[in-house]
Symmetry: C2
Subunit: 211 residues, 2 copies
């Protein structure tokens, strides 16, 4: 039922919002421009004013996904205490939980981009989250819990490990207690390996003095 007026103060924003809902509830394949237009009571050709094609809409969604994930990571840090491994766990957990709750959205964020310009834009969008991760690592280094060295390399290692958990959570391969255990085991062992001097419990005890 068309209302008659052109209407829609901001069709672009409305399309994105509705698309995100469909994505969450029914997945990418169920996302159609025509269905979106119908839901917003607008002609099927109207979306093309705001998104060149379906892919452009998906790319825009990917961008919001990265931004939301960044926000979720910060919220996780804000909820956590000041301790060292605690902050790493809080940050990582926020990532994994977001991935499980917004699987399709994150999948879009990580999909291979055909357009180089889009790939660059998304790469840029990751920077704030990566900066947050750097800060967490620098904190661990100051506390003597992470070995000195190139923080970018250490950041890439942590990011990749957590991403491995997150993608499996998103795909449903890892759920419930199994997910929790892998998450804990992976981070614990990796941090142990990243510690400056690894005794038996380097994550909860200061390194024993050399004998």
């Amino acid at each position: 039922m068309r209302t008659g007026r052109y209407h829609h103060g901001d069709l672009r924003a409305a399309l994105l919002e509705r698309a995100e809902q469909t994505l969450r509830e029914q997945g990418v394949d169920a996302l159609s421009l025509r269905e979106l237009a119908r839901a917003l009571d607008v002609s099927h050709a109207a979306p093309s004013r705001h998104f060149r094609d379906r892919r452009a809409l998906l790319d825009a969604l990917a961008l919001t996904g990265i931004q939301r994930l960044t926000t979720a990571g910060r919220a996780g840090l804000a909820r956590s205490g000041d301790g060292f491994p605690e902050r790493v766990f809080a940050f990582a957990r926020a990532y994994v939980d977001f991935a499980a709750a917004h699987a399709a959205l994150l999948e879009l964020a990580f999909a291979r981009k055909h357009d180089a310009a889009v790939a660059d834009e998304l790469e840029l969008a990751w920077q704030p989250l990566k900066a947050d991760l750097q800060a967490v690592i620098a904190h661990g280094q100051r506390e003597g819990r992470i070995r000195a060295g190139n923080a970018d390399r250490i950041g890439a290692v942590l990011f990749t490990a957590v991403h491995g958990v997150a993608t499996q959570a998103a795909g449903g391969q890892l759920t419930g207690p199994a997910l929790d255990q892998v998450f804990d085991d992976l981070l614990t062992h990796l941090l142990r390996g990243l510690a400056p001097s690894a005794g038996d419990e380097p994550l909860t005890e200061p390194a024993a003095p050399a004998c």
Copy 2:
């Protein structure tokens, strides 16, 4: 141009083979049953004899993807020597290389399944690869390079870490030297954390005797 005869000794196999090619060259979105039928010179309704719907074809492809990946992992092990960290690296590298070369196929293998029966079937298909990984870990434990303990848990940790590298390689977020470095750093630090007693170079030197 239809030939006239029903033809095609094994249309199902022909469909899968052609689909895999299209997937590799043009991605999932470009994969259409009608196009496949056209390429095989068969009516557009013929594929439905062998695959209930498009999703069923995609599920079948996912299955072959897991099998191919398993084969690639074994080939990696076969090429490697007998040393301990060497075998882990060889196995993991085969996984990552396969992911980079067959991104779309592996994506299908890890996509969330709507059908529980399919999810179970794919879960089963992973078992041979996971068994191979268990063997590599058991080897490391015998050599005193990996701490004793539940091999399933340790396997899940290693799998997840490597999967994190693989998905980023598949998505094009990690390529070239950056990929190699993250791969090396992650495995090195994780194995260090998994070692029974971690000195400064636990991966290349036997653990120093306790003082």
